[in-house]
Symmetry: C2
Subunit: 272 residues, 2 copies
């Protein structure tokens, strides 16, 4: 069974896409072709969208699913005339919220992503720079400014996790790869132990790690299962010994790793 | 007026937060204290959440707003007993979707972020590595593999945009900072012109740029308004001359910059 799903917005489309994706993945038997249509902010564009939706309905022989987060009432009405099955997010929730809050909503587009909205945005961009500056153990002088320092073997997922935390939550996360040289000495490097309460471990299944490393450096000792097993086992042992929390990244996405670490470390989004 | 808003999920909480944030920013007069509670995946945790919500209602003297994307029906019911004003996303939309699709939803948690969901996740992580490897003009040999090459003056927002596109959409975006040396020669560097159809310009208001650069290198010539004005004007002129599309980042967030570029360049998410 094939269906087309549209995520339509007069802003970035991120809300419609995020929500729609969450809901549609609940229906495993259906194959959805997903189409995001952002910045539908004129009646002309809205009419073109109606045409696209109707075409999809005809082609599939079934109603397309339409998730829409259009704020402008006129544009929303235009889109509502399409033949798709509509999940109108603002229509469903704004009215009840207006009643509960005893306020009219402002019906303005893209507020949640506006750059001048708050200090949040600045924190996020500053945190991206922080993550880049403090990636891969390159610099360690700024660890006192870090919210978090991720430690783990090379290629266990530290960098994407730090970047995601920065972009999404404005968290300043540094990361330090524990190298073979580090493992020749007991414990963890002194530069890390100075910030012991900021440390969080990432670990990974050695079979998964060897596959990832082989893509980077095929047939190297670095990528060998033996080496991966040794490093992972040794790092896990030390983290445990020192009582440092850790998470196994093997079956988690970067979103899950980031949000689980934040929950466990008691971190919340930076900037009000 | 102050209200507490809760974003509650048995997964990462990203959907509840994204949707809730979009809706609440429509009410400008209200100051919301936002609390995200992810991984509420046991009845015990659910009961604790009910306590927190009720406490907030009592403290504020008003109902807290509760956005919930709990998949598990039992946990959802437990949370529904709280005194907050509930926006139950799955309750509102899953039933109608089940009817339209003639299918029961699977009621399984975190599907949309599951690492083994699809090729999408691999593309995203590979794209993050690509963005890092090809950041800041450091390497140019991989430009043939890029979906997009962002060009613009130093500090106009290229790097965060590339990283966001990678993490969110799996787009392989390289970036090249146009330096003063580049501006001594006419046109754009040959290494860029070889991939002319992948180029996209970022530009920025010189006043904004000088402020950003002053934070990085205070009182430098690099940060001076005169220098910023010269670089921006010169780069804008060349982009226009060559017919290369560009976007002014001054008043846009990284989400907006990324999604607008993708829309304009006709790029869609990588990985099915």
């Amino acid at each position: 069974m094939k269906r087309t799903a549209f995520f339509i917005s007069d802003g970035t489309g991120i809300t419609a896409e995020t929500l729609g994706n969450s809901l549609l993945t609940q229906f495993e038997g259906v194959q959805f072709e997903m189409v995001t249509l952002p910045y539908i902010d004129t009646l002309e564009k809205a009419h073109a969208v109606v045409g696209r939706v109707n075409d999809a309905c005809e082609r599939d022989g079934q109603k397309a699913i339409v998730f829409d987060t259009i704020v402008n009432p006129e544009i929303r009405e235009t889109i509502a005339a399409c033949q798709g099955f509509k999940i109108d997010v603002f229509e469903s929730f704004l009215k009840p919220l207006e009643q509960e809050l005893q306020l009219r909503s402002s019906y303005s587009v893209g507020k949640s992503h506006a750059i001048n909205e708050s200090s949040r945005y600045k924190e996020r961009i500053a945190s991206v720079n922080f993550a880049l500056d403090n990636d891969d153990g390159g610099r360690v002088q700024q660890y006192s400014k870090a919210d978090l320092i991720l430690v783990g073997v090379s290629r266990c997922g530290k960098t994407p996790t730090c970047l995601y935390m920065a972009l999404q939550f404005g968290i300043r996360a540094a990361n330090y790869p524990i190298t073979i040289e580090d493992l020749e000495v007991a414990g963890l490097p002194e530069v890390l132990m100075q910030h012991r309460d900021k440390l969080f471990g990432l670990t990974i299944d050695p079979f998964h790690l060897t596959a990832i490393r082989h893509e980077r450096r095929p047939n190297s000792r670095y990528a060998s299962l033996e080496q991966c097993e040794f490093e992972v086992r040794e790092v896990e042992r030390r983290l445990k010994q020192l009582g440092i929390s850790s998470i196994n990244t093997t079956h988690f996405s970067v979103e899950e790793i980031a949000t689980r670490i934040m929950a466990e470390a008691g971190l919340t989004r930076r900037g009000v």
